[in-house]
Structure formats: structure tokens, C-alpha cells
């Protein structure tokens, strides 16, 4: 059996691995020693990745709903029926009544094709994917500030930083390879500032831990800036030469004195001062952040505040220093890059820009729609209202992953037609009219782009299971049936089209990817070696932009009926909606069911014992889940992971949106806890 280097399908680290297969069964995994990210290591999910691929409950043939239940059908019937339904909805209600969810789990080529399909075959820009739920605010915020919404640096640069400020990222759990780099940096003497409302594992290594009340991030960030200015720690020359709009911003953040901020955030003022001095005093200072910053109704403001902070200290534009959003999915960076977004074409080319329209119209021999489409949560809302009539969901599981699941269910049940492609019969697929069996990462070729913008080859190791097809072939079949020809023999050809139309991917070709360990975009042409860190000498947008931001309230504050703040997230042993990780016996054994972390004192007040089932109720729904009494969460807060469909945290969460990026506020909602 030939072995092929491929990429782990879990988080955004993008570890290189070889799969061990016997006949068509994947039986083991082998980390790549020379790969720049894995360096011979894997996390527990990576080490056990082989188990879900050949799972006996993989979908192996298409299903169609007949008399209320899903029955086996042929590909021909499934595609014919789906094409007919989508065309009919388009004809009867117009293109805007169709919506597409693309997938951060699928390859770049698949996301690009689905983006193309949406625009040419459906005639709408209603395409989005789960990046909306994780880093939408990063894409908008960092683009406004710097001109690009991606990590400014590379993962390995973390090891040589003097200071690492980790905000709202449980890095050792969610990005184990990056967590390990942080530990290495600390071992070498770097200062670590952890800002998290939970006592996460990294706190054990932190120089200082700031523990803000959930939803008060703008306040502490503005306060650090206030301290830096008042203590003359700001890099005035950098601000002058590299940035704009500083004075206006300064007027606002200067209001956030340590005393005032302590009242809002609960962080003692001495700690704020200490953190500001460390961050401003070091030269190679990395900010690392994730969902704790982004998943708020003021997510964009949080991101802008962090960007301001880094600019004030002059910390962007050189190695080992910058602002680094950690992307959560194996290819969430790529799905964004490929234009699976309602307002952008591939490479963040705005769809409303006439030149872009002309370029794509010419290449695709069509007229692409110019009106900005709907985002994930907006599509769901419109489906409830009956304005979205048909959806195609590729490899996403909004019935577990999206906020306010009862609302999502209402939306999906309200559709005239729902088409889902997936590896498993997920809770979302279970509501579909047609379900198409899709290949796993082990059965297809393509590329994933990891969190540091590294485009890497995913290589087919085993033959397709059952009648499964890779999603790119599914899209081609559907498009061809709908009268828009798509003929590609291999994903390589799709990448060639991507390179042609996408400046930042302009030099990315398979032969180049096969030579080494991938290429980091921007990579403009064939001779371009890729870019390890951004904004060298000048920002992508020219001068970096300071934006004044003030602390605004969360959508839902606690009150006497709902006195607890619920935050949600992932845990180390599982991934997202659990469709892969829960099928791996070692991971399932480790954490077989969901749990709610509750502070020891709160548990005592409510007479809740360790492991006892409790009920958590929000204004939108309720779940029953076991309590895990913990010092990691502060008083008044509850943490529930969203992996488990038996106790789905997203029944509780709110779909209130950040008005700029349309990211829902998954990190804060009010709830109450009852003993059962």
C-alpha cells in the first residue's frame, strides 16, 4: 500500500500525517516528522483519526425522502430530483429563495466549486459557512484594521516571541500544536499573559492571568491602551508612520482608566497595569485569540480593539510579533479564502466591486449576482419566515452547531427542499429530503488551508467507501444536471482555476504543493515563495487603521430569573458536532457525554453534587446535563460544550448577531440552573 502525506481533518493547526491502510480499511496513523506543524507529534484526536473513517454507520448510498422517511435511492434519482426541485424553487420564487451552506471541513476546491455553483447555477450570493459562527468578526475586524483577516504570523514564530497574550483561546485544548509552541516559548523565558474568564490550562504557565467578566473585552483592551499611553509605552513613531486615525481613537480609550475598568471587568487594576507593561515592554509580542473574543454581539469591536492594542505598541509587521486569530476548523481559513461567503468572491474580492464582477463573468461566461447574500443565521431566520425555500448544506450540521437549535429546526422543517451531503446521517441530514453520501478526507484529493494560511495537499489514501463521492464531484453532477456545465477530472484543475481568479492564490499549483510542505498565501505567482508573516514594510491596506471602540453590553444580561451566564465551547477530546470524534472509541471513552462546568460555590448554593444531572434553562430552550464542579469557571458562569446532541448547548444559546460581521453571540447568554 502506497502511503501519502495528508492533513489531519480536525482543527486549524493542519498537522501532516500518513494513514496506515490495509485493503480499504484505515487502521492507524503516522505523524510526519519533517512536517513544520506536526514535527512528529499529534494530539489525541489526530492519533485516533483512523477510527471514524471506516465506521459502519457511514452513509454509503444516497437517500431520498418518500412517505416521510428516508429510503435508499440511486445517484441518478437523487441528483435528478434535487436538480429539479432547486430549479423549480428558483423558477417559482426566484434565486434569492435558495441558500447554501458550504463547509469548513471540505477542501478548498470543493468550497470554490460550491461558491461558483451558487453564483452561476442558482444565481444568488446566499452562501455562507460556519466561519460565520467562529471568526466572522475577525475577517471584518482585521480587514478594517490591517487589510487582511488572517493570522499575521506563522505558528512556529510563536516559539521565539518574548511575550504572548492569549485572549479567549483555550489553546492547549483546541490547537494543541500551537499550545505546545506557547509552552516552549514560556520555557525559553517568554512572558505569558492569559486573558480568559475561565481558569484554562495555560494559566498554569502564565506570568499573569486576567479574568474578565464574560463580554467585557473591549474594556480591558482599551484599558491596557490607556495605561500604555499614560506610562509613555506607546510606539509613537510607529503610530505616525504606519497607522492612521490614532487621535480619534485615543480620545475614546483614554476613558478606560484602570479604576473604571476594574469595575466593569472585575480585573484588579494592578493586574491591568502589569499586563500592559509586559505587553508594551516586550518587542516580539504575539496576540493569540479565538472564540472568546469573536463570538459576541460586539465581536468585531473586540477584534478591532485587539488590533488597536497591537498597533499602539508597534507590534505588527515583523516576525514573531503580531495578531493571530486561531482558526478552529481544518479548512475554515480556506473556505473563507474560496469565497464561500455572501459578500466576497475567492481571495476576499468584494462581490460588489465592478471589476471583480467583470473578471468572474468573463471566466465563468455568465453574469454573477451582485447583491450581497445572506449569512448563516440570516438564512435560518429567512427560512423560518418562508423566504428561503430550498437549501443545500454540504458537510455542516447546523442542528448541533448553530445557535438556538429549536429555531434552526423550525427553519429546516419549513423548507420546501433540503439537500444535505455528509459522511453520516447527522441531525441535519435527518431532516433532509435528499441525503448524498460524501467521502471522508481519506478518500479524496484536494487542499486544506490551515490557520497560518498554509495551503496543503490532502491526498487520497483509500478508495471511496460504498457509493460515496467526494463533494466536488457531487457539485459537478448537480451543476451539470441544472444545465451549468462543470467538468473537472481532478481537483488539480479546480486549483488552476482558483489560481487564475484569485490573486492571493495566484502561484499555488499542485506541482508546487507536492514539492514541499505547502505554500502560505499570499502567493501571487509561480516564483513567489509564499508569505510567512504579513504587513512587512506596509500594511495590506496601506496604513493600518485605528478604530475607536467602546464597551457595549452583551445582548442578554443576567437578571433575577436567569442569573447565570452561559458560555459554550469545545473540549479537547471532541470536535464540533461530534460526528467524527464521537465515533472514535478512545475519545468516546474519555468523554462519553456532555457536562456543564459550574463553580464550586454555586454548586454548593444549589446543592448540586459532582456528576449529578441538572437542568439548564434559557429563554430559548432547556437541556439536561451532568454537572462537573470546577474551579475553572468563575462564580455565576456555566460552561457547556456543544459537541453532544443529547445535551445540545445550542438549544440554549441566542442568535443575536454582531451587526457588522453577523456572528452570533455564542459566548454569552443568560440562563438558570435547576436541580433535577
Amino acid at each position: 500500500m502506497r502511503k501519502y502525506l495528508t492533513i489531519c481533518p480536525y482543527c486549524g493547526c493542519g498537522c501532516g500525517m500518513y494513514l496506515e491502510a490495509k485493503e480499504n480499511d484505515v487502521l492507524g496513523v503516522n505523524p510526519s516528522y519533517h512536517h513544520p506543524i506536526s514535527r512528529g507529534k499529534l494530539c489525541v484526536k489526530g492519533w485516533n483519526v483512523h477510527e471514524f473513517i471506516n465506521s459502519s454507520d457511514r452513509l454509503t448510498y444516497p437517500l431520498i425522502r418518500k412517505n416521510g422517511s428516508l429510503k435508499r435511492t440511486s445517484w441518478e434519482e437523487a441528483i435528478d430530483y434535487s436538480a429539479e426541485k432547486l430549479l423549480k424553487i428558483k423558477k417559482d420564487y426566484g434565486s434569492e429563495s435558495l441558500g447554501i451552506l458550504s463547509s469548513a471541513k471540505c477542501t478548498n476546491e470543493e468550497n470554490f466549486l460550491l461558491s461558483k455553483f451558487t453564483r452561476i447555477a442558482l444565481g444568488t450570493n446566499n452562501i455562507d459557512h460556519c466561519a460565520r459562527l467562529c471568526h466572522a468578526s475577525t475577517v471584518t475586524g482585521l480587514k478594517m484594521a490591517f487589510g487582511s483577516g488572517a493570522m499575521t504570523n506563522s505558528i512556529n514564530e510563536l516559539e521565539n516571541a518574548d511575550c504572548i497574550l492569549v485572549a479567549g483561546s483555550n489553546t492547549t485544548s483546541q490547537h494543541p500544536m500551537i499550545g505546545a509552541r506557547i509552552l516552549n516559548a514560556v520555557e525559553k523565558g517568554a512572558k505569558l499573559i492569559v486573558v480568559d474568564s475561565r481558569k484554562i490550562h495555560l494559566c498554569n504557565f502564565a506570568t499573569i492571568h486576567l479574568c474578565p467578566k464574560p463580554g467585557t473585552d473591549v474594556a480591558w483592551i482599551n484599558c491596557l491602551m490607556q495605561i500604555m499611553v499614560s506610562e509613555k509605552l506607546a510606539d509613537i513613531e510607529y503610530i505616525k508612520r504606519r497607522t492612521e486615525n490614532f487621535e480619534e481613537t485615543r480620545r475614546l480609550f483614554e476613558l478606560y482608566t484602570p479604576e473604571y475598568t476594574e469595575k466593569i471587568t472585575g480585573i484588579p487594576k494592578e493586574n491591568l497595569i502589569k499586563a500592559a507593561r509586559i505587553y508594551a515592554g516586550t518587542r516580539k509580542a504575539m496576540i493569540v485569540y479565538s472564540m472568546g473574543i469573536t463570538q459576541h454581539v460586539h465581536g468585531t469591536e473586540n477584534v478591532l480593539a485587539l488590533a488597536n492594542l497591537s498597533l499602539l505598541a508597534g507590534h505588527v509587521g515583523y516576525p514573531h510579533s503580531g495578531v493571530n486569530p486561531l482558526r478552529g476548523q481544518n479548512n475554515v481559513q480556506g473556505a473563507c479564502d474560496m469565497g464561500a461567503l455572501p459578500d466576497m468572491l475567492s481571495g476576499y474580492q468584494p462581490i460588489r466591486n465592478l471589476e471583480n464582477q467583470i473578471k468572474f463573468n468573463k471566466a465563468w461566461k455568465t453574469t454573477i449576482p451582485s447583491k450581497t447574500g445572506l449569512t448563516v443565521v440570516e438564512m435560518i431566520n429567512e427560512a423560518v419566515l418562508g423566504n428561503i425555500k430550498g437549501m443545500f448544506i454540504m458537510g455542516e450540521n447546523p442542528m448541533i452547531s448553530d445557535p438556538d437549535i429549536n429555531h434552526v429546526k423550525k427553519a429546516l422543517e419549513n423548507l420546501d427542499f433540503l439537500l444535505v451531503s455528509d459522511m453520516f446521517l447527522t441531525d441535519t441530514a435527518d431532516l433532509a429530503h435528499v441525503v448524498l453520501p460524501a467521502c471522508s478526507f481519506a478518500e479524496k484529493d484536494g487542499t486544506f488551508t490551515n490557520t497560518e494560511r498554509r495551503v496543503q495537499r490532502v491526498r487520497k489514501t483509500i478508495n471511496t467507501i460504498g457509493e460515496c463521492l467526494p463533494d466536488w464531484q457531487i457539485i459537478c453532477k448537480l451543476s451539470n444536471k441544472m444545465g451549468h456545465e462543470m467538468s473537472y477530472e481532478h481537483p488539480r484543475e479546480i486549483m488552476e482555476e482558483i489560481a487564475l481568479l484569485t490573486p492571493i492564490y495566484g502561484g499555488i499549483f499542485y506541482d508546487r504543493l507536492d514539492e514541499g510542505w505547502g505554500l502560505q498565501w499570499p502567493c501571487y505567482h509561480r516564483d513567489h515563495l509564499g508569505t510567512s508573516f504579513l504587513h512587512q514594510e506596509t500594511f495590506i491596506r496601506g496604513k493600518a487603521h485605528f478604530t475607536p471602540v467602546k464597551q457595549s453590553p452583551s445582548y442578554e444580561e443576567t437578571d433575577k430569573d436567569y442569573p447565570f451566564i452561559l458560555t459554550t465551547g469545545r473540549i479537547y477530546f471532541h470536535f464540533h458536532t461530534g460526528t467524527m470524534s464521537r465515533r472514535c472509541s478512545a475519545l468516546d471513552r474519555e468523554v462519553p457525554e456532555g457536562f456543564a462546568s459550574i463553580n464550586y460555590n454555586d454548586a454548593q448554593d444549589l446543592d448540586i453534587k459532582e456528576g449529578e444531572k441538572i437542568k439548564i434553562i434559557s429563554r430559548r430552550g432547556e437541556i439536561e446535563v451532568r454537572a462537573s464542579i470546577s474551579e475553572a469557571v468563575c462564580r455565576g458562569a456555566i460552561f457547556v460544550s456543544f459537541h453532544f446532541k443529547e445535551s445540545p448547548a445550542n438549544k440554549l444559546t441566542s442568535s443575536a448577531l454582531d451587526p457588522v460581521s453577523k456572528i452570533p453571540e455564542l459566548k454569552v447568554c443568560a440562563c438558570k440552573v435547576e436541580k433535577l
Binding site: M1, K3, Y4, L5, Y18, E20, L27, G28, V29, N30, P31, S32, Y33, H34, H35, R39, G40, K41, L42, C43, V44, G46, W47, N48, H50, E51, S55, S56, D57, T172, P176, M177, G179, A180, L183, N184, E187, H201, N204, F205, Y572, S585, A586, R589, E590, G611
Partner: protein
């Protein structure tokens, strides 16, 4: 046993003849990474390599191994699945040979593990002496390398243009008989060169002394501070990698998986003692619920208990845990900390 010389030009011709008789496993290079795998084309084999991340242990004790298939009819039909394939592993390193000797003891102690032992019985090992030690290895201090004293069927030492071939067993002698024409007699000078190659290799280890014996003594006499285990626990990321790559880790979990309909298979999978589920009991109680207890137990097992049981530590100094560990708490560094009395 006898010794021979094999001209390097005839290594592949020899292995080609071996392939005709038995299934050949050897190191292959993929993107500079080394993986031991079944050989279909003789030219895939690489002879100049640092050891693989996954040890050849996996050919005896695979990461996941179907041990039986069953059918859930009125009376359950069970079909054990044991491999009787005859195999030759070329290029195994001394540390891994000693690793197998360790597994041999464990899997035949009291209960005889047929899945392992059958594969072991049907294999012939051609050990390749490390003339250039790997970065993380400390086999020299674990007395398991760079050259093996026992355990191999054939042992090759690279003399530049030829291999010095030591025969370690009847199986080894029989393998040579497959292609005796390629092997010639040694002369005294060859012995000298072999000695010098090994001597030079021994001088090239990057690790300072890793004193496994002293660590074992300190553990046995409880001279290790509890703080050490707490610090290690903080650094352990519970990936399981150290166990998975260890040539002497023997633990496995057993799960039943459906095939289709009433058919299913029982699979055993590599397990890791740093995982909580490893010791959790059916009722939910976990005697080692804290990671510090599990990490402590792991090092006691590797470095101390094994001495009482088998008169040797079960660390062969391959250094793989140094490579895979996310928290830099590999055996070499922990031994050093124990010895220093941190």
C-alpha cells in the same frame, strides 16, 4: 554463530530473493519521513535513515487489530483472526529489537497472547546497526544499542562499501541460505572495521548520560518529590503519543464494531495510560482520576516496576517519546529530573 560479508551492491538482490519467499518489511522514505512498510518494489527501500516514529512494533501489535469476527445469530459464531504470514523485517534498529524482547516477555507471561506470539514466531529480523545515532536516542545508556547483542536473527553493520553480517539465530542462518552466493567470508580486518564503526557511533550520541538505574533506585526508595509529578501533569497534554510510539508499551483497549447486519468484529486498539478512561471503572469510579497520578504511574511502571518484574527497565532509549511529546516530558528529561532530585 557465523559472520559474513555482504557487498552493498548485492543487498537488494539478496532482499529480492527474500521477497520471493516471504513478505518483506523495510523502511521507506516519504517526503524525508521514514515509515516501515510492506515492500512491493525493492527500490523503495532506503538504507540510510534515522529511525521511524512508529516502531516496527506495529507489525506484531498493530494500532488497530481485528482479533475475531462474530455473528450474532441464535448461537453466536466466533471466528478468531490470527496472522500466520511469514515476514522478514529489514532495517529494524537495535532499540526496537530490544523492544520486541520486552514485548515477548510480557505477552507470554502467564497468558499467552496468540495474536502477538504467532506474528513474532513467523518473523525474521535483520537488524541494521546505527552508525549515526539519531538525535533523540539514548539507547547507549539503556544498553540496547547502537548495536544489539541479542534478539536479532541477522545483524548488519555498515562498513562503507559492504555490510558485516552477524548471524544471531537459526532463522537468520536459513535466510542467508536463500541467497548464499551473495555472502562471503569475513577477514580479520572486517572485524576491526566493524568494531571501529560501532565505537565511532557510540561517541556520537547527542544526549548526556541518561541514568536509568539511578532513576529507578530513586523511584524505588521514594526519593522523588510529589511536586515533580504535579509539574509533569501540568505539561502532559494527554495525547497518548508516548504510549503509542513506545516500543515496549503493551496496553490495548478492546471494542466491538459492527460490520453489517448481525456481523461484527472485535478490535483491539493501542491504549494509553495517561488517558482517564484507561483506569475508569464501569461504575464511573476512577482510581487514578487525576492526571498527576496517571503520569506518576506511567513513569513508575516504565522505570521501576518493570525492574522488579523483569529485572530491566522497559525503556530501550529509542527517544521516540522525546519526538512526540507536546509538553517536553519525555523519558530522558524526566529521568534527568528524577536523578537531579528536582
Amino acid at each position: 554463530m557465523k559472520n559474513y560479508i555482504l557487498d552493498k551492491n548485492f543487498l537488494k538482490p539478496f532482499l529480492r530473493k527474500v521477497m520471493k519467499k516471504e513478505r518483506l518489511i523495510a523502511p521507506i522514505e516519504f517526503n524525508k519521513d521514514i515509515i516501515f512498510d510492506f515492500i512491493d518494489e525493492i527500490d523503495e527501500i532506503t538504507t540510510n535513515f534515522t529511525n521511524s516514529i512508529i516502531s516496527p512494533k506495529r507489525f506484531f501489535f498493530p494500532q488497530s487489530d481485528t482479533i475475531l469476527e462474530y455473528e450474532k445469530t441464535s448461537h453466536v459464531k466466533v471466528q478468531p483472526i490470527v496472522s500466520y504470514e511469514r515476514r522478514v523485517i529489514f532495517g529494524i534498529r537495535s532499540c526496537d529489537v530490544y523492544g520486541l524482547l520486552n514485548l515477548d516477555k510480557f505477552y507470554s507471561l502467564g497468558y499467552e497472547d496468540i495474536y502477538y506470539l504467532q506474528r513474532r514466531e513467523n518473523v525474521t529480523l535483520i537488524n541494521l546497526v546505527c552508525s549515526d545515532p539519531c538525535e533523540n536516542g539514548f539507547c547507549i545508556y539503556a544498553k540496547s544499542g547502537p548495536k544489539a547483542e541479542v534478539g536479532f536473527d541477522l545483524q548488519f553493520t555498515d562498513l562503507g562499501d559492504k555490510y558485516f553480517v552477524e548471524v544471531g539465530s537459526v532463522k537468520g542462518e536459513e535466510l542467508i541460505k536463500i541467497a548464499e552466493l551473495f555472502f562471503s567470508k569475513i577477514i580479520e580486518k572486517d572485524e576491526e572495521r566493524r568494531f571501529e564503526v560501532v565505537l565511532k557511533s557510540k561517541s556520537c550520541f547527542s544526549h548526556l548520560y541518561v541514568d536509568l538505574q539511578d532513576a529507578a533506585l530513586k523511584l524505588k526508595n521514594n526519593l522523588v518529590s510529589e511536586n515533580l509529578w504535579q509539574e509533569l501533569a501540568d505539561r502532559c497534554q494527554r495525547c497518548g503519543g508516548c504510549n503509542y510510539v513506545c516500543p515496549t508499551c503493551t496496553c490495548f483497549d478492546v471494542v466491538d464494531k459492527d460490520i453489517e447486519g448481525q456481523r461484527g468484529r472485535r478490535v483491539r486498539l493501542w491504549d494509553s495510560c495517561v488517558l482517564g478512561g484507561f483506569t475508569r471503572l464501569a461504575g464511573g469510579y476512577n482510581p487514578r482520576s487525576r492526571i498527576e497520578d496517571r503520569v506518576k504511574r506511567k513513569f513508575y511502571h516504565k522505570l521501576s516496576y518493570e525492574i522488579e518484574k523483569f529485572q530491566a527497565t522497559s525503556c530501550v532509549g529509542c527517544g521516540r517519546c522525546t519526538t512526540v511529546c507536546l509538553g517536553n516530558i519525555d523519558t530522558a528529561s524526566v529521568v534527568r529530573r528524577i536523578v537531579l532530585g528536582e
